[in-house]
């Protein structure tokens, strides 16, 4: 039972399809323009910033969040990712937290009740669905 020439073509076609879908996954993963940085204070969303617009490549954007009573956190957004660059919270855990760059990751500052979260497009859609239903 030797495979005919067309069978080999089918297998090549399958390999091409697998390659294309990996390529598609990669371009989708690198499509950072759709990511949103969401800053939550005490469970409420107080600010959300579009992440990585192409003209901002290399720049560092700093957002100062006043968490009341003289407490503050400064959230830095750059092409490298999102981090808390400065804060006057007692434990400084948020400043020492690693840079986040993937949807779903977050940095939490427990003393100031602050959460910085990266949200992908699909999660944004889900949020709309949740409120709509």
């Amino acid at each position: 039972m030797k495979p005919k020439i067309g069978d080999i073509f089918v297998y090549v076609f399958i390999l091409v399809l697998i390659g294309l879908s990996f390529l598609g996954l990669k371009t989708m993963g690198s499509n950072r323009n759709n990511l949103l940085v969401q800053i939550e204070l005490d469970g409420e969303v107080i600010d959300s910033v579009e992440m990585w617009q192409e003209e901002q490549e290399g720049e560092l954007k700093e957002i100062r969040v006043d968490t009341g009573q003289g407490r503050y956190n400064i959230v830095g957004i750059s092409s490298q990712g999102v981090s808390v660059t400065e804060a006057n919270c007692p434990d400084k855990l948020c400043v020492r937290s690693p840079v986040i760059r993937e949807p779903g990751q977050s940095i939490v500052c427990i003393p100031h009740k602050l959460v910085v979260r990266i949200i992908g497009e699909s999660q944004r859609d889900n949020a709309v669905d949740d409120t709509a239903s």
Binding site: G6, D7, F9, I18, S122
Partner: protein
């Protein structure tokens, strides 16, 4: 062949496809969404014994009744889109390009396009093409194995059926 005989044989083929479809749901699979696609054996048998029109009839009726057996109405859309697309592809390969393709190759191509049809429908329903990219690699690898197996089964069944039914003459 008389018309009655043809209708009867087609009815038996469809019922066998449905039974295969049903039995298949008890067989665990490794990847989500991957199936053995045993019902495709009957589609190919029809294609070889009768032709394009009859194969498409078998596919459509099986795709509508199969998901109903499993109890899900939404499944009809997926199985119809996959079934019709793979039915068309297999018909073209078998009826027009027969000299280049073995039954195993045709069956594998059918499995591949069945998956593509279903994933395109799923992408359309969920509104994101990401589903296609995520599931395609796994399903393609599964299609190589199941497609070859189904083609082999079809080959052996046909050798037996053609003698028994005296359809081809």
């Amino acid at each position: 062949m008389t018309k009655t005989r043809k209708i009867t044989i087609l009815a038996i083929i469809i019922s066998q496809a449905l039974v295969l479809h049903y039995i298949e749901s008890f067989i665990p699979v490794l990847a989500p969404g991957a199936k053995l696609g045993l019902a495709n054996i009957m589609t190919m048998v029809t294609l070889v014994l009768f032709g394009f029109k009859e194969a498409l009839i078998v596919v459509v009726i099986r795709s509508v009744l199969g998901p109903l057996l499993g109890g899900s109405v939404t499944g009809i859309l997926y199985s119809l889109s996959g079934g019709i697309l793979s039915g068309f592809i297999m018909s073209v390969l078998y009826l027009k390009l027969d000299i280049y393709f073995s039954l195993m190759g045709i069956s594998t191509a059918g499995a591949v396009f069945h998956n593509i049809g279903q994933l395109l429908t799923a992408s359309w329903i969920f509104g994101t093409i990401g589903i296609l990219y995520t599931y395609l690699p796994v399903l393609m690898l599964a299609a190589v194995v199941t497609g070859y197996f189904n083609g082999l089964v079809t080959r052996y069944i046909l050798g037996y059926l053609e003698k028994k039914l005296e359809i081809r003459n």
